[in-house]
Protein backbone atom coordinates (compact mmCIF):
# COMPACT_ATOMS: atom_id res chain seq x y z
CA UNK A 1 0.00 0.00 0.00
CA UNK A 2 2.92 2.34 0.69
CA UNK A 3 4.02 1.96 -2.93
CA UNK A 4 0.51 2.74 -4.14
CA UNK A 5 0.36 5.85 -1.98
CA UNK A 6 3.68 7.02 -3.38
CA UNK A 7 2.35 6.34 -6.85
CA UNK A 8 -0.77 8.36 -6.10
CA UNK A 9 1.36 11.27 -4.93
CA UNK A 10 3.45 11.15 -8.12
CA UNK A 11 0.35 11.13 -10.32
CA UNK A 12 -1.34 13.91 -8.40
CA UNK A 13 1.76 16.10 -8.44
CA UNK A 14 2.53 15.52 -12.11
CA UNK A 15 2.33 18.75 -14.13
CA UNK A 16 1.57 16.88 -17.34
CA UNK A 17 -1.38 15.02 -15.82
CA UNK A 18 -2.70 18.41 -14.76
CA UNK A 19 -2.68 19.43 -18.44
CA UNK A 20 -4.00 16.27 -20.08
CA UNK A 21 -6.05 14.56 -17.36
CA UNK A 22 -9.11 16.77 -17.26
CA UNK A 23 -11.37 14.25 -18.96
CA UNK A 24 -9.86 11.18 -17.31
CA UNK A 25 -12.42 9.99 -14.78
CA UNK A 26 -12.68 6.23 -14.28
CA UNK A 27 -12.17 3.42 -11.80
CA UNK A 28 -9.13 1.32 -12.67
CA UNK A 29 -8.22 -2.09 -11.34
CA UNK A 30 -4.55 -2.95 -11.02
CA UNK A 31 -3.80 -6.58 -10.25
CA UNK A 32 -0.21 -7.24 -9.23
CA UNK A 33 0.01 -11.00 -9.01
CA UNK A 34 -2.57 -11.91 -6.35
CA UNK A 35 -3.02 -8.36 -5.02
CA UNK A 36 -5.77 -6.32 -6.58
CA UNK A 37 -6.45 -2.63 -6.12
CA UNK A 38 -9.26 -0.48 -7.43
CA UNK A 39 -8.09 3.06 -8.02
CA UNK A 40 -10.59 5.86 -8.54
CA UNK A 41 -9.29 8.52 -10.92
CA UNK A 42 -11.11 11.83 -11.03
CA UNK A 43 -10.06 14.41 -13.62
CA UNK A 44 -6.63 12.89 -13.90
CA UNK A 45 -5.97 12.66 -10.16
CA UNK A 46 -6.06 9.55 -8.00
CA UNK A 47 -8.86 10.23 -5.54
CA UNK A 48 -9.03 6.87 -3.80
CA UNK A 49 -7.15 3.58 -3.53
CA UNK A 50 -9.11 0.53 -2.48
CA UNK A 51 -6.67 -2.19 -1.41
CA UNK A 52 -9.40 -4.70 -0.51
CA UNK A 53 -12.00 -4.44 -3.24
CA UNK A 54 -15.15 -6.42 -2.61
CA UNK A 55 -17.97 -7.44 -4.89
CA UNK A 56 -19.30 -3.88 -4.87
CA UNK A 57 -16.04 -2.29 -6.08
CA UNK A 58 -16.72 -1.51 -9.72
CA UNK A 59 -13.90 -0.94 -12.18
CA UNK A 60 -14.19 0.55 -15.67
CA UNK A 61 -11.08 -1.21 -16.89
CA UNK A 62 -7.77 -2.39 -15.54
CA UNK A 63 -4.54 -4.28 -16.04
CA UNK A 64 -3.56 -7.65 -14.64
CA UNK A 65 -0.16 -9.36 -14.74
CA UNK A 66 2.15 -11.51 -12.63
CA UNK A 67 4.54 -9.60 -10.37
CA UNK A 68 7.53 -10.57 -12.52
CA UNK A 69 5.98 -8.67 -15.44
CA UNK A 70 5.18 -5.58 -13.34
CA UNK A 71 8.71 -5.62 -11.89
CA UNK A 72 10.15 -5.35 -15.39
CA UNK A 73 7.69 -2.63 -16.38
CA UNK A 74 8.40 -0.42 -13.36
CA UNK A 75 12.18 -0.85 -13.38
CA UNK A 76 14.11 2.37 -14.12
CA UNK A 77 15.58 0.86 -17.28
CA UNK A 78 12.83 -1.45 -18.46
CA UNK A 79 13.80 -4.19 -20.90
CA UNK A 80 12.46 -4.11 -24.45
CA UNK A 81 8.82 -5.22 -24.78
CA UNK A 82 8.22 -4.30 -21.11
CA UNK A 83 8.86 -0.59 -21.53
CA UNK A 84 5.33 0.56 -22.41
CA UNK A 85 1.86 -0.74 -21.68
CA UNK A 86 0.99 -0.87 -25.38
CA UNK A 87 4.17 -2.88 -25.99
CA UNK A 88 3.14 -5.35 -23.32
CA UNK A 89 -0.40 -5.60 -24.67
CA UNK A 90 1.09 -6.60 -28.04
CA UNK A 91 4.01 -8.78 -26.95
CA UNK A 92 3.55 -9.95 -23.35
CA UNK A 93 0.55 -12.32 -23.17
CA UNK A 94 0.51 -12.34 -19.34
CA UNK A 95 -0.21 -8.60 -19.33
CA UNK A 96 -3.96 -8.34 -19.76
CA UNK A 97 -6.33 -5.43 -20.29
CA UNK A 98 -9.55 -6.16 -18.42
CA UNK A 99 -12.91 -4.45 -18.69
CA UNK A 100 -13.95 -1.73 -21.10
CA UNK A 101 -11.21 -1.34 -23.69
CA UNK A 102 -13.04 1.55 -25.31
CA UNK A 103 -12.93 3.59 -22.09
CA UNK A 104 -9.26 2.73 -21.71
CA UNK A 105 -8.36 3.86 -25.22
CA UNK A 106 -10.49 7.00 -25.01
CA UNK A 107 -8.09 7.99 -22.25
CA UNK A 108 -4.99 6.59 -23.93
CA UNK A 109 -2.92 9.75 -23.66
CA UNK A 110 -3.46 10.35 -19.94
CA UNK A 111 -3.48 6.62 -19.22
CA UNK A 112 -0.09 6.16 -20.87
CA UNK A 113 1.33 9.03 -18.82
CA UNK A 114 -0.18 7.61 -15.66
CA UNK A 115 1.23 4.16 -16.36
CA UNK A 116 4.69 5.57 -17.06
CA UNK A 117 4.57 7.35 -13.69
CA UNK A 118 4.65 3.91 -12.08
CA UNK A 119 8.33 4.09 -12.98
CA UNK A 120 8.99 6.46 -10.13
Amino acid sequence: MAWMEGYRDRVNADPEMAVIGGWFTAALSFTFGEQRYVVRVERGRIADINAAPRIDARATFGFRAPMAVWDRFVSPNPPALYHDFFAMLMRVPEFVLEGDGLAAMQNARALQRMMNLMRG
Binding site: A80, H83, D84, Q106, L111, Q112
Partner: protein, 279 residues
Protein backbone atom coordinates in the same frame (compact mmCIF):
# COMPACT_ATOMS: atom_id res chain seq x y z
CA UNK B 1 21.68 35.69 -38.49
CA UNK B 2 18.41 33.76 -38.89
CA UNK B 3 18.74 29.99 -38.61
CA UNK B 4 17.37 29.06 -42.03
CA UNK B 5 17.60 25.36 -42.80
CA UNK B 6 18.77 24.19 -46.24
CA UNK B 7 15.63 22.10 -46.79
CA UNK B 8 13.39 23.16 -49.68
CA UNK B 9 9.79 21.98 -49.98
CA UNK B 10 7.91 21.76 -53.28
CA UNK B 11 4.86 20.16 -54.88
CA UNK B 12 4.76 17.89 -57.90
CA UNK B 13 1.92 16.25 -59.78
CA UNK B 14 2.27 12.49 -59.84
CA UNK B 15 -0.06 10.11 -61.68
CA UNK B 16 -1.04 7.24 -59.43
CA UNK B 17 -3.49 4.58 -60.62
CA UNK B 18 -4.59 6.94 -63.40
CA UNK B 19 -5.33 9.82 -61.03
CA UNK B 20 -3.29 12.98 -60.63
CA UNK B 21 -2.02 13.46 -57.09
CA UNK B 22 -0.51 16.64 -55.72
CA UNK B 23 2.50 15.40 -53.80
CA UNK B 24 4.56 17.42 -51.38
CA UNK B 25 8.25 16.67 -51.09
CA UNK B 26 11.23 18.28 -49.48
CA UNK B 27 14.83 17.94 -50.43
CA UNK B 28 18.36 19.01 -49.68
CA UNK B 29 21.78 18.22 -51.09
CA UNK B 30 23.25 17.03 -54.34
CA UNK B 31 24.51 13.75 -55.68
CA UNK B 32 23.13 10.25 -55.53
CA UNK B 33 19.35 10.35 -54.92
CA UNK B 34 18.37 9.15 -51.45
CA UNK B 35 14.61 8.69 -51.43
CA UNK B 36 13.19 8.61 -47.91
CA UNK B 37 9.87 6.98 -46.97
CA UNK B 38 8.06 8.00 -43.80
CA UNK B 39 6.30 5.68 -41.36
CA UNK B 40 2.58 4.86 -41.22
CA UNK B 41 0.34 7.83 -40.53
CA UNK B 42 3.24 10.29 -40.53
CA UNK B 43 4.97 12.49 -43.11
CA UNK B 44 8.28 13.74 -44.45
CA UNK B 45 9.00 15.83 -41.35
CA UNK B 46 10.38 12.65 -39.84
CA UNK B 47 13.45 13.03 -42.05
CA UNK B 48 14.42 16.56 -41.04
CA UNK B 49 17.64 15.52 -39.30
CA UNK B 50 18.85 13.55 -42.31
CA UNK B 51 17.87 16.43 -44.61
CA UNK B 52 19.83 18.82 -42.41
CA UNK B 53 22.92 16.64 -42.10
CA UNK B 54 25.63 18.31 -44.20
CA UNK B 55 27.79 15.21 -44.19
CA UNK B 56 24.97 13.36 -45.94
CA UNK B 57 23.77 16.14 -48.24
CA UNK B 58 27.23 16.76 -49.68
CA UNK B 59 27.06 13.29 -51.24
CA UNK B 60 23.34 12.65 -51.56
CA UNK B 61 20.34 14.47 -52.91
CA UNK B 62 18.01 13.63 -50.02
CA UNK B 63 14.33 13.64 -50.97
CA UNK B 64 11.42 12.88 -48.67
CA UNK B 65 7.81 12.97 -49.86
CA UNK B 66 4.43 12.73 -48.21
CA UNK B 67 2.23 9.89 -49.38
CA UNK B 68 -1.22 10.97 -50.64
CA UNK B 69 -3.48 11.70 -47.61
CA UNK B 70 -0.38 12.38 -45.48
CA UNK B 71 1.26 15.62 -44.43
CA UNK B 72 0.84 18.22 -47.17
CA UNK B 73 -0.02 15.83 -50.01
CA UNK B 74 -3.69 15.96 -50.90
CA UNK B 75 -5.85 12.87 -51.30
CA UNK B 76 -6.90 12.02 -54.87
CA UNK B 77 -10.17 13.41 -56.19
CA UNK B 78 -13.35 11.78 -54.85
CA UNK B 79 -11.48 10.59 -51.75
CA UNK B 80 -14.65 11.12 -49.75
CA UNK B 81 -16.33 8.26 -51.60
CA UNK B 82 -13.90 5.56 -50.56
CA UNK B 83 -12.29 4.43 -47.37
CA UNK B 84 -8.55 5.01 -47.29
CA UNK B 85 -6.82 1.64 -47.33
CA UNK B 86 -3.26 1.28 -48.48
CA UNK B 87 -2.18 -1.91 -50.22
CA UNK B 88 1.22 -3.31 -51.12
CA UNK B 89 0.42 -2.82 -54.81
CA UNK B 90 -0.71 0.79 -54.44
CA UNK B 91 2.16 1.72 -52.13
CA UNK B 92 4.70 0.32 -54.56
CA UNK B 93 3.00 2.14 -57.44
CA UNK B 94 3.11 5.50 -55.60
CA UNK B 95 6.82 5.18 -54.83
CA UNK B 96 7.61 4.10 -58.35
CA UNK B 97 5.53 6.92 -59.89
CA UNK B 98 7.18 9.54 -57.68
CA UNK B 99 10.68 8.40 -58.45
CA UNK B 100 10.01 8.18 -62.21
CA UNK B 101 8.32 11.61 -62.23
CA UNK B 102 11.36 13.16 -60.60
CA UNK B 103 13.62 11.17 -62.95
CA UNK B 104 15.76 9.86 -60.13
CA UNK B 105 18.57 7.69 -61.45
CA UNK B 106 19.57 4.61 -59.49
CA UNK B 107 18.35 5.96 -56.17
CA UNK B 108 18.96 4.57 -52.74
CA UNK B 109 15.57 4.00 -51.15
CA UNK B 110 15.50 4.41 -47.39
CA UNK B 111 12.32 3.76 -45.46
CA UNK B 112 11.28 3.23 -41.88
CA UNK B 113 8.66 0.85 -40.50
CA UNK B 114 6.09 0.36 -43.28
CA UNK B 115 8.52 2.37 -45.43
CA UNK B 116 11.30 -0.01 -44.45
CA UNK B 117 9.03 -2.88 -45.29
CA UNK B 118 8.03 -1.67 -48.75
CA UNK B 119 11.69 -0.89 -49.48
CA UNK B 120 12.19 -4.66 -49.49
CA UNK B 121 9.54 -5.02 -52.19
CA UNK B 122 11.04 -2.12 -54.14
CA UNK B 123 14.35 -3.98 -54.04
CA UNK B 124 12.78 -7.27 -55.07
CA UNK B 125 10.91 -5.79 -58.05
CA UNK B 126 13.27 -3.03 -59.25
CA UNK B 127 16.73 -4.14 -58.24
CA UNK B 128 18.15 -3.40 -61.70
CA UNK B 129 17.22 0.26 -61.31
CA UNK B 130 18.41 0.89 -57.77
CA UNK B 131 21.70 1.46 -56.05
CA UNK B 132 20.32 -0.09 -52.92
CA UNK B 133 17.94 0.12 -50.01
CA UNK B 134 18.38 1.10 -46.39
CA UNK B 135 15.63 -0.56 -44.39
CA UNK B 136 14.99 0.86 -40.94
CA UNK B 137 12.86 -1.39 -38.77
CA UNK B 138 12.20 -3.63 -41.78
CA UNK B 139 10.23 -6.81 -41.72
CA UNK B 140 8.76 -8.93 -44.50
CA UNK B 141 5.70 -9.85 -42.45
CA UNK B 142 4.06 -7.78 -39.72
CA UNK B 143 0.66 -8.88 -38.43
CA UNK B 144 -0.84 -7.42 -35.28
CA UNK B 145 -0.79 -3.63 -35.33
CA UNK B 146 -4.33 -3.00 -36.58
CA UNK B 147 -7.30 -2.45 -34.28
CA UNK B 148 -10.69 -0.83 -34.79
CA UNK B 149 -10.04 1.93 -32.26
CA UNK B 150 -7.52 3.52 -34.62
CA UNK B 151 -10.48 5.12 -36.39
CA UNK B 152 -13.49 5.25 -34.13
CA UNK B 153 -16.07 7.99 -33.54
CA UNK B 154 -15.79 7.74 -29.76
CA UNK B 155 -11.99 8.10 -29.68
CA UNK B 156 -9.82 11.10 -30.50
CA UNK B 157 -7.86 9.59 -33.36
CA UNK B 158 -4.95 12.03 -33.19
CA UNK B 159 -4.31 11.51 -29.51
CA UNK B 160 -4.88 7.78 -29.65
CA UNK B 161 -2.64 7.12 -32.65
CA UNK B 162 0.10 9.37 -31.23
CA UNK B 163 -0.02 7.55 -27.89
CA UNK B 164 -0.31 4.12 -29.49
CA UNK B 165 2.93 4.77 -31.38
CA UNK B 166 4.73 6.64 -28.57
CA UNK B 167 5.74 3.44 -26.83
CA UNK B 168 7.61 2.39 -29.95
CA UNK B 169 10.34 4.85 -29.00
CA UNK B 170 13.14 3.69 -26.74
CA UNK B 171 12.70 4.95 -23.16
CA UNK B 172 16.18 6.48 -23.21
CA UNK B 173 15.58 8.60 -26.30
CA UNK B 174 15.40 12.34 -25.59
CA UNK B 175 11.98 13.48 -24.44
CA UNK B 176 11.87 16.42 -26.83
CA UNK B 177 12.40 14.15 -29.84
CA UNK B 178 9.85 11.60 -28.72
CA UNK B 179 7.33 14.37 -28.18
CA UNK B 180 8.02 15.77 -31.64
CA UNK B 181 7.14 12.41 -33.11
CA UNK B 182 3.97 12.35 -30.97
CA UNK B 183 3.02 15.73 -32.39
CA UNK B 184 3.52 14.65 -36.00
CA UNK B 185 1.42 11.55 -35.36
CA UNK B 186 -1.33 13.55 -33.71
CA UNK B 187 -1.80 15.50 -36.94
CA UNK B 188 -2.63 12.59 -39.21
CA UNK B 189 -5.99 12.67 -41.00
CA UNK B 190 -8.87 10.55 -39.72
CA UNK B 191 -8.37 6.89 -40.59
CA UNK B 192 -5.03 7.46 -42.32
CA UNK B 193 -2.85 5.61 -39.81
CA UNK B 194 -5.53 2.90 -39.71
CA UNK B 195 -5.45 2.65 -43.52
CA UNK B 196 -1.67 2.36 -43.52
CA UNK B 197 -1.60 -0.21 -40.75
CA UNK B 198 -4.31 -2.17 -42.54
CA UNK B 199 -1.81 -2.70 -45.33
CA UNK B 200 1.00 -3.43 -42.90
CA UNK B 201 -0.99 -5.89 -40.81
CA UNK B 202 -3.08 -7.70 -43.42
CA UNK B 203 -1.72 -7.24 -46.95
CA UNK B 204 2.01 -7.11 -46.36
CA UNK B 205 3.81 -10.40 -46.82
CA UNK B 206 7.06 -10.27 -48.76
CA UNK B 207 8.66 -13.39 -47.33
CA UNK B 208 8.88 -14.92 -50.80
CA UNK B 209 9.72 -11.67 -52.61
CA UNK B 210 12.84 -11.00 -50.56
CA UNK B 211 14.42 -14.24 -51.70
CA UNK B 212 14.65 -12.69 -55.20
CA UNK B 213 16.86 -9.80 -54.04
CA UNK B 214 20.37 -10.02 -55.47
CA UNK B 215 22.66 -7.83 -53.37
CA UNK B 216 25.22 -7.79 -56.19
CA UNK B 217 22.70 -5.68 -58.11
CA UNK B 218 21.02 -3.87 -55.25
CA UNK B 219 22.76 -3.34 -51.94
CA UNK B 220 20.74 -3.97 -48.80
CA UNK B 221 21.37 -2.51 -45.36
CA UNK B 222 18.97 -3.19 -42.51
CA UNK B 223 19.02 -1.42 -39.16
CA UNK B 224 16.64 -2.22 -36.32
CA UNK B 225 16.33 -0.85 -32.80
CA UNK B 226 16.35 -2.84 -29.59
CA UNK B 227 13.08 -1.36 -28.30
CA UNK B 228 11.07 -1.79 -31.48
CA UNK B 229 8.24 -4.08 -30.46
CA UNK B 230 6.37 -3.72 -33.77
CA UNK B 231 9.27 -4.89 -35.91
CA UNK B 232 11.49 -6.63 -33.41
CA UNK B 233 15.19 -7.24 -34.08
CA UNK B 234 14.34 -10.93 -34.50
CA UNK B 235 11.90 -10.05 -37.28
CA UNK B 236 14.60 -8.13 -39.17
CA UNK B 237 17.07 -10.94 -38.55
CA UNK B 238 14.65 -13.25 -40.36
CA UNK B 239 14.75 -10.88 -43.35
CA UNK B 240 18.54 -10.67 -43.25
CA UNK B 241 18.79 -14.45 -43.18
CA UNK B 242 16.79 -14.64 -46.41
CA UNK B 243 18.96 -12.15 -48.33
CA UNK B 244 22.55 -13.34 -48.89
CA UNK B 245 25.01 -10.45 -48.76
CA UNK B 246 22.71 -8.16 -46.84
CA UNK B 247 24.08 -6.09 -43.95
CA UNK B 248 22.21 -5.91 -40.69
CA UNK B 249 22.84 -3.65 -37.71
CA UNK B 250 21.27 -4.05 -34.29
CA UNK B 251 20.85 -0.63 -32.70
CA UNK B 252 21.07 -0.96 -28.93
CA UNK B 253 19.02 1.58 -27.00
CA UNK B 254 17.04 2.59 -30.08
CA UNK B 255 13.35 2.24 -30.84
CA UNK B 256 11.17 2.18 -33.93
CA UNK B 257 11.84 5.77 -35.11
CA UNK B 258 15.63 6.13 -35.21
CA UNK B 259 15.73 9.16 -37.52
CA UNK B 260 13.30 11.01 -35.29
CA UNK B 261 13.69 9.83 -31.72
CA UNK B 262 17.46 9.98 -31.29
CA UNK B 263 19.36 11.21 -34.34
CA UNK B 264 22.73 11.71 -32.58
CA UNK B 265 22.75 8.04 -31.61
CA UNK B 266 21.32 6.89 -34.93
CA UNK B 267 23.78 8.85 -37.05
CA UNK B 268 26.87 6.70 -36.36
CA UNK B 269 24.82 3.65 -37.37
CA UNK B 270 23.52 5.30 -40.54
CA UNK B 271 26.63 6.94 -41.98
CA UNK B 272 28.56 3.70 -42.63
CA UNK B 273 25.55 2.27 -44.44
CA UNK B 274 25.25 5.36 -46.64
CA UNK B 275 28.99 5.17 -47.33
CA UNK B 276 28.48 1.55 -48.33
CA UNK B 277 25.67 2.63 -50.67
CA UNK B 278 27.80 5.36 -52.24
CA UNK B 279 30.92 3.18 -52.51
Amino acid sequence: MPKVEPIVGRYVEVKVAGAACRIFFEEAGQGMPLLCLHTAGADSRQWRHVLNDAEITRRFRVIAFDLPYHGRSTPPDRWWLSKYTLTTKLYLEIIRAFWKTLELERPVVMGCSMGGAIALKVAADYQEELTGIVGLESTAYAPGRYNDFLHHPAIHGGEFVASYTAGLNAPSSPEVAKRENWWVYSQGGPGVYAGDVHYYSFDWDAREDITRIDTRKCKVSLLTGEYDYSCTPAMTEAVAAAIPGCRMTFMKGMGHFPMVENYPVFRPFLLPELAYMAG
